[in-house]
Amino acid sequence: YSFFPGQPRWPESRRDLTYAFEPRNALTDEVKSVFERAFVRWGEVIPLTFTRSETFSTSDIRIGFYSGEHGDGEPFDGVMGTLAHAFSPPNGNFHLDEEENWIVSGDGGDGRSLSETSAIHLESVAVHEIGHVLGLGHSSVQDSIMYPTITTGRRKVDLTSDDVEGVQYLYGANPNFNGSTTPPTSTQQRDTGDSGAACRL
């Protein structure tokens, strides 16, 4: 795991965070529930809470789908390429590329390889970006959530011990956390791009 320079984190006075969705996106409850599941995963391991708010502008974390240049100097580039980005604490901005084909089912879909259709599993990206919102940088551990890329053919939503160690360094452990995480596997799967092989985001 790694952190942003200076190890920024949400201050002690802001441990009950709110999140809201860009109202112009008019997201369905199904899409919003994907993010709720992602927040729960992080909330299980650290003593922070995440509550959905309807007030976008004043929420701690602001989630929005945008295309191209959208005001933060980090333009999205269309289908695939860069999929999402989020800013270090206490910024709270969490942006996703609205031009992607996002799969919103909790279980990863219908079993068809997402790499065939270049579709992206939304919850997998959401869990990763929330890690950035909390202060984690990218990890070199390939199975970790905070690895910069992820196979599209697979749903990747479970925090590994690398992710948990990193975020607990910043915030401490949730008293209710039982210590169960997914350890990194010893045999690392090497992704080789598209054309039938795994495609990663």
């Binding site: 952190f3 919103v104 068809r112 390889s113 990218h138």
Partner: protein, 136 residues
């Protein structure tokens, strides 16, 4: 668009989705230091975006495979646990074109991707020979 599963994606969108904006980088397979290849400056822009070329660089990149690009490639290969060749080999470029998070891997020229790895040292000083284990 949002879809319950990949089968729900309209066929015409599936076709469009196969075009990765970075796929043209695959044409650089085999390039190495000293070469000059049309369009190589775009790959330098990619590496600059993700921090492998410092922000302090002016950004008026040439198509030369110079030391700036070689250093960037080597750091990228280290971060992704690829063979550190400094060349644009097949495996490296197949990683480069993979869609990814837009947050930089490297900040201020220093990769942070390995920074949190802890080192544990445990010593067992029993009657027998001293056993010293290090876990990284």
């Amino acid at each position: 668009g949002f879809y319950p599963n990949s089968s729900a994606i309209p066929p015409d969108l599936r076709r469009n989705a196969t075009g990765n904006v970075w796929n043209s980088f695959l044409n650089f397979t085999g390039c190495h230091a000293g070469m000059k290849v049309d369009g190589l400056y775009k790959l330098k822009q990619y590496f600059k975006h993700f921090g492998y070329i410092p922000e302090t660089h002016a950004g008026n990149f040439t198509d030369d495979f110079d030391d700036i690009l070689k250093n960037a490639v080597e750091m990228y290969q280290r971060n992704f646990q690829l063979n550190v060749t400094g060349e644009l080999d097949d495996l490296t470029l197949n990683h480069v074109v993979i869609p990814r998070c837009g947050v930089a891997d490297v900040v201020n020229g220093t990769s942070t991707m390995h920074s949190g790895r802890r080192t544990y040292e445990v010593s067992f000083a029993g009657r027998g020979p001293r056993f010293h284990a290090v876990k990284r």
